[in-house]
């Protein structure tokens, strides 16, 4: 059944392959990620203002014809109709705004929706905003919300939040491929090292592998340092149709392909715990639509909500064979100076994970890196990049491919 479905996707993709670039990012803005004073409205305002300021030749708010808002509505405040909040806080009242909620993958799916809107030809300039405010609720309420995007009727009733579900996944990964504790610790240490160079990161301090392994266990074999933090933050992108991008800047960053996928919500219904079919499908679609090979990619932004997720990402995206993500990580090749840098901004692990903002923030980092504006954490020879955004424990996933010039 899936094969037939992929075939039909391939056909659609082939028909569209005449377009080399599908959209262009011409501006991007980012707030600090972390425990912030600002509320969600101020976060949105700050990120969008920064995005407009970043457009080299300027962009007018009147040119925005559509907007997409990625947010979970964590904590329950303004859980409904937050599209209007985006419009009124950013000066685009009147244009259509669509909220996209695919849990932690909301940002990646919002970006994909924006590319689709541009492809329809109706919109010259589209705004994509991701935001989450997570630290203004009590600890008990926060823990209530941290599980709302997982399966409630089986996983939650058994006493699992996402840390627990990823704990099960890590347990299975170890059972299939051997103890990967050192590779998990390396993921955390590497991403903290990158985060230490990112002024927007929630955590800007290094941690050693030994510290990661000695931390208290949250969901064995995952410990405290295997988990991303609970963060506030927002990120905004301005997207134009590729043919008009140079009206805004000489160095647009192009989106050459997007893909997305879904899977069963509860991991108990999936054939494998250690392969995310949603990611595999999303990557397949993205690479087909861009006409790229894996070897074209200079660096990755992947969804490392828990350290084990980065190993799965390397494998499901096709950069390592099953079980080989651990060895690739331990080889040092995914460090900033390696052959395939992964998460140069610190990833969710160190940069933080304001749920709706994360997928948008991955594209922000790629925007800086491909334009050579990433400062101390600049990756060498960055020409092509991939962003990978996962909702829940692999139930939804979005992949986008970016290039410059």
């Amino acid at each position: 059944m899936l094969r037939g479905f992929n075939d039909s996707v391939d056909k659609t993709v082939r028909e569209a392959e005449a377009l080399a670039h599908r959209a262009a990012i011409v501006g991007a803005g980012h707030t600090r990620f972390g425990v912030l004073e600002a509320g969600p409205r101020a976060l949105v305002r700050t990120a969008v203002d920064a995005a407009f300021r970043s457009v080299d030749r300027g962009a007018d708010r009147k040119d925005v014809s559509e907007a997409f808002l990625a947010t979970l509505g964590f904590g329950g405040s303004q859980i409904g109709n937050s599209a209007a909040v985006l419009a009124e806080e950013t000066g685009v009242v009147g244009v259509p705004v669509t909220r996209v909620e695919n849990a932690c993958a909301s940002g990646g799916f919002a970006l994909r929706s924006a590319v689709g809107a541009l492809a329809s030809g109706a919109s010259p300039l589209v705004l994509v905003v991701g935001v989450e405010k997570m630290t203004d609720v009590s600890n008990a309420r926060r823990r209530y919300w941290l599980g709302v995007s997982g399966d409630t009727e089986w996983e939650r009733l058994a006493g699992l939040t996402f840390a627990g579900v990823y704990g099960l996944i890590a347990s299975r990964y170890f059972a299939e491929h051997g103890d990967a504790s050192e590779a998990l610790a390396e993921v955390a240490a590497k991403n903290h090292e990158n985060g230490a160079l990112n002024p927007n990161a929630h955590f800007q301090k290094k941690v050693s592998r030994a510290e990661v392994r000695a931390a208290p266990r949250v969901a064995d074999p995952l410990g405290l340092y295997d988990c991303c933090p609970v963060s506030d933050g927002a990120c905004a992108l301005l997207l134009s149709a590729p043919e008009v991008a140079r009206k805004f800047t000489d160095t647009p960053v192009y989106i050459d392909g997007t893909g997305a996928g879904t899977d069963f919500l509860a991991v108990q219904e999936r054939a494998s715990l250690t392969r995310f079919r949603a990611t595999q499908r999303a990557a397949h679609e993205a690479f087909r639509s861009a006409g790229w090979h894996r070897s074209d990619v200079s660096f990755l932004e992947v969804h490392d909500c828990f350290t084990i997720a980065e190993l799965l990402a390397l494998e499901d995206l096709g950069f390592a064979g099953p079980g080989e993500g651990a060895a690739l990580t331990l080889s040092g090749e995914t460090r900033r100076g390696g052959r395939l840098p992964v998460n140069p901004d610190g990833g969710l692990k160190a940069k933080g994970h304001p749920i709706g903002a994360t997928g948008v923030s991955q594209a922000y980092e790629i925007f800086l890196q491909l334009r050579g504006e990433a400062g101390a954490r600049q990756v060498a020879h960055a020409g092509h990049a991939l962003a990978h955004n996962v909702g829940g424990a692999g139930a939804t996933a979005a992949v986008s491919l970016f290039s410059v010039g």
């Binding site: 059944m1 329950g76 008990a140 309420r141 823990r143 209530y144 919300w145 599980g147 709302v148 997982g150 409630t152 009727e153 089986w154 996983e155 939650r156 009733l157 058994a158 006493g159 699992l160 939040t161 840390a163 627990g164 704990g167 099960l168 996944i169 890590a170 347990s171 299975r172 170890f174 059972a175 208290p216 266990r217 949250v218 969901a219 064995d220 074999p221 995952l222 509860a266 991991v267 108990q268 219904e269 054939a271 715990l273």
Partner: protein
Amino acid sequence: MRSVVRVAAYLPAGSSGGVRVAASDEDAFTLGATAAERAWVDRVRVSDPVVVHLLGDYPSTADWGFPALLGRGAEVVRHPGDGGELARALRSLEETGEGPALVVAAELPERATNRERPAPSPPGAAAVAYFLETSDQPRPFRLGPASGSPSAVALALRRENSDDGGLRSDTYVGDWDLAPAAGRPVDLELVRRGAERNLSAVSEGAYVPRPRYLENLPSRWRFAADECDACHEVTFPARGVCRRCRRRDALTAILLPRDGGRVVAVTTIGKGGQPTEFDAQVEVSGPYQVALVDLAEGVRVTLQVTDAAAGEVRVGDAVHTLLRRLYPMEGEWRYGRKAVPAPPGTTERRER
């Protein structure tokens, strides 16, 4: 002829040894806690017409989920608590013939309603379930005087069946699995406060509303699944449609094995890693494990592990399952299956 298989979840008033905390209707829900009970439940097929006799006065909503537990066709007969309920139940048992039947009697504390605290249990409160079945070598179906309070009946029944299957007055499981066998010291006050806190709490986020909870009980309590006659895919939890070929007209209701499953993944939830509705349980009985268990080839379920030290269960272990309390929410206890380590030497069950 029917014989009494077992008295389950008998809660003698004022039991000693720190075993009993509060008697309530849900305490009768420990079906499947022993091999005898599991055998009884196992023998009841999904399609069997089961008659459940409820003795005494129950709020209208309290059918206790027995129809869901026993099968889709279970019928509930209520016998009002006017002193003659047991006699009436016996009469209807004679009239209904040889099929499986369940008689449940209890003296209930006033039932907690939504968002209200549960009333304290009155002294002498008891709950008891009688499992009756057809047998080739029947024990006489004797319940002594066909009147009297359920707790008096329970005592009489216990005496008469004391040689039947290890029934003991302290055979009690339920309150977050504080079975005396686990050897843990029990702080009754902590349990009471935890339960009251959860029972009175209003859910703030992810939770299973009562109608959703009830609709899935056959799958959650009995591992009811659909097997597709066309493509042989097993769909669990049952959805009324084959998850592979989407056919609705070729499904056979089956029960997956409840014992001898194999652990394919397991995690130990550390302090603070649990959803908030499990806070009280963790406070009372410490960290717990959650396992993904293969019930049959490729059919898996997520279960909390109980009656085992945290870290005891490992990938590859065989586990049995029991119906246990999960947590109270909005005035009501939620029940589901949990996994326990299988005795050494248990062979995996693979048949469907």
